[in-house]
Symmetry: C2
Subunit: 206 residues, 2 copies
C-alpha cells in the first residue's frame, strides 16, 4: 500500500501490529478515528498509556488489579485452601461468570511454549510453589487450556510440587452440555467415557 502521508502510514503500521489486524483493517480503524472528534482518539490513547504504565498485579494471585491485593484474594468469603491455576485474566473472568467456584486463583501469565520463547521463568510458577510451601493450600486445580503447551505447563508445575503436601486436580474434559455425541471429536468423547462419574454426582451438579 502506498500512502500519501507519512503520519497516516505510521499510524496504520502501528495499528496493524495488533494481533488479527491487517493493513486494510488498520486503515479502516485509523480513518474512522480521523472522522471522529479529536477527543475520541485522545481518550483511546490516554486509556492505553495509563493501562500500560500504571498497571498493577495482585501480589497474591498475580491477576490484573488496581490495588495491592485484588478483590477476590481480599474477600473473606473465599476458600483459601483451594487455588485454581489459570493462564490469564480472561480465564478468571470466565470461571467467575459460572458462579460455581469459591476458591482463589493463581494467574500464570501464559503457558510454557518453547516455540514462542516462553519458559517457566517467564511465568509465575516460582511464587506458586512458594505459596504451596506455606501449607495453607489443600488443593490446586489446573485449569489451563488442553493443548500441548497447557499439558506441558501442568506437568512442569506438578513436578515442582513433588514432596509437598497438596492435592492436584484438573478440570473435567468431556462433551459440552447441550452437545450431540455424534459431533464430538474422538479424543473428547474417549476421555468422557474413561473419566465417567457416578450418575448421582451428575444430579448434584445442577
Amino acid at each position: 500500500m502506498e500512502f500519501s502521508s507519512k503520519l497516516l502510514e505510521n499510524a496504520v503500521y502501528e495499528m496493524s501490529q495488533l494481533p488479527g489486524i491487517g493493513k486494510r483493517t488498520a486503515l479502516r480503524l485509523v480513518l474512522h478515528l480521523l472522522k471522529r472528534p479529536t477527543e475520541q482518539t485522545q481518550k483511546l490513547t490516554l486509556a492505553l498509556d495509563h493501562l500500560r504504565n500504571d498497571i498493577k498485579f495482585c501480589t497474591n494471585c498475580h491477576n490484573i488489579s488496581d490495588v495491592e491485593v485484588c478483590e477476590i484474594c481480599a474477600s473473606p468469603r473465599r476458600d483459601r485452601s483451594l487455588v485454581c491455576v489459570v493462564e490469564d485474566i480472561r480465564d478468571v473472568m470466565a470461571i467467575e461468570n459460572t458462579s460455581q467456584y469459591k476458591g482463589l486463583y493463581h494467574v500464570l501469565g501464559g503457558k510454557i511454549s518453547p516455540m514462542e520463547g516462553v519458559g517457566p521463568q517467564d511465568l509465575t510458577i516460582g511464587p506458586l510453589v512458594e505459596k504451596v510451601k506455606k501449607g495453607e493450600i489443600k488443593e490446586l486445580i489446573f485449569a489451563l487450556s488442553s493443548t500441548m503447551e497447557g499439558d506441558t505447563t501442568n506437568f512442569y508445575i506438578y513436578k515442582q510440587l513433588e514432596g509437598l503436601d497438596v492435592n492436584t486436580s484438573t478440570i473435567a474434559r468431556g462433551i459440552s452440555v447441550g452437545d450431540e455425541l455424534e459431533y464430538a471429536d474422538e479424543v473428547t468423547l474417549g476421555r468422557s467415557i474413561v473419566n465417567r462419574i457416578p450418575f448421582e454426582n451428575s444430579l448434584k451438579a445442577n
Copy 2:
C-alpha cells in the same frame, strides 16, 4: 463483563468504540499490548495522537497529505482537465493502484447520508463547484460507491453544476473481469447489457 481493574475496563471500553471491534476482541488486543514491551504501546498511541492532531489535507483535492498540495496535485504529468470525485483516501489508493488514471482527484470526505447525519455541507462539495467554475476542468468522473447514498451524492453534485461548462461521467458498472455470468446479480448484469460498449473498445482497454 466484570473487570478487576478500572484501568483495564477503561482501555477495553475505548478500544471497543472502534468499528468492528467488540468487547472480547478489545480485551484480546489490550492484553496483547500488556504482554509486549511498553514501547509498543507508546509507539501506537504516539502515532495515533500525531496523526489526529497534525493531519493535513491537500488544499486542492482534500486528500490526506503531509504537505500543502499533495503529490498527485503537484505532479506536472497529471491531466488537470480531468477530475475523479471519490469518497475517501482508500478510493484514491485503489484507483492509483490500477495505473489507468492520469487525471486529478477530488475527495469528498464521505457521502450524503441523512441516516448518519451527513449533509452536503459536511462534504467538500462547495470547493468542488468553485473549482469547476474556474473553467479548467473539462470532465468530472463520479466514482462513488453505487449505493443509495452514493447515487444521491452524485445527483446532488450534478444539480449544483447545472449551467456550468463541464462534462460529467460515472465509472462503468458491470460484471467483474473474470466473473462467471451465472453468479452475477441481476441489477449488475442488467446494467452491463444496457451499457454495452462497442467490441473494438474492449480490445483497446487491455
